[in-house]
């Protein structure tokens, strides 16, 4: 494995000027990592909510707590950015949207649509 490390690698994100599809792509990764970190916490709240009526009340409190709201918004964005970018990748796999103007436009669409979906969910839920 080490012998492969002779290949040129440049992955410093602070020095690379990414095209918009690259920004969308790295956001897809970041969103994935954030959701990975959230797995144990989600399981904890799920378990609590299913234990007893008291547990459900406690879980509701946690899910509705104001100070955790920014975190929930971030995770909700992660979920829908990851989902939308994922749909784009699946379409690219079957050669849909590979051409240049569309490739860029769909990347922009994903970046814009994910926060909009979060806002829409907030509007419907409240």
């Amino acid at each position: 494995m080490m012998s492969q490390n002779k290949r040129p690698v440049f992955i410093n994100l602070f020095q690379i000027k990414l095209p918009v599809a690259g920004v969308m792509s790295i956001a897809h990764r970041v969103a994935g990592v954030l959701m990975f970190i959230a797995i144990p916490f989600s399981l904890y709240v799920l378990e609590l909510s299913l234990q007893s009526p008291q547990g459900f009340a406690r879980a509701t409190e946690i899910v509705q707590s104001n100070w955790l709201m920014p975190l929930y918004l971030l995770l909700l964005w992660s979920l829908f950015h990851h989902l939308l970018a994922g749909i784009r990748y699946l379409l690219l796999d079957i050669d849909v949207g590979v051409e240049k103007p569309l490739y860029r436009q769909t990347a922009i669409t994903v970046l814009v649509a994910a926060p909009l979906v979060v806002l829409l969910i907030l509007a419907v839920a409240s």
């Binding site: 494995m1 080490m2 490390n5 690698v9 992955i11 990764r29 994935g32 990592v33 959701m35 990975f36 797995i39 144990p40 399981l43 799920l46 378990e47 909510s49 299913l50 007893s52 009526p53 547990g55 459900f56 009340a57 979920l79 989902l83 994922g86 749909i87 699946l90 796999d93 969910i121 419907v124 839920a125």
Partner: protein
């Protein structure tokens, strides 16, 4: 461990799990928005009905596989030192396996 889920197999699994998890996400999102459970009986009644329990168990299993493949790819890209990467990958694998067992305890 990484050899077992590498190359084409991981690529295919990632996409199959993605399709299921995408549909599952849409179902759960719309259900919760339209039918927001307000008490324990409603919530546990929904989760504990057989089709929903099965859908959740399958979703959690696929989330863990999907997360493993995704995190593994990120670690391969960003930790060029085989030793450290192996340690981190082992920890991630243990964490995900532990979460799988925990989820089993929640639903069984």
């Amino acid at each position: 461990m990484s050899r077992q889920l590498s190359g084409l197999k991981a690529w295919v699994l990632q996409r199959i799990s993605a399709v299921y998890l995408g549909l599952f996400t849409l179902y759960v999102t719309f259900y919760l928005l339209i039918n927001t459970p307000t008490d324990y009986a409603q919530w546990s009644g929904w989760i504990n009905s057989l089709p929903v329990t099965l859908a959740f168990m399958l979703a959690i299993a696929l989330i863990l596989i999907h997360a493993w493949i995704g995190i593994r790819d990120v670690l391969i890209d960003y930790i060029p030192f085989t030793g450290i990467r192996l340690v981190v990958m082992t920890l991630v694998g243990l964490l995900l396996s532990g979460c799988g067992l925990w989820a089993l305890l929640i639903f069984v």
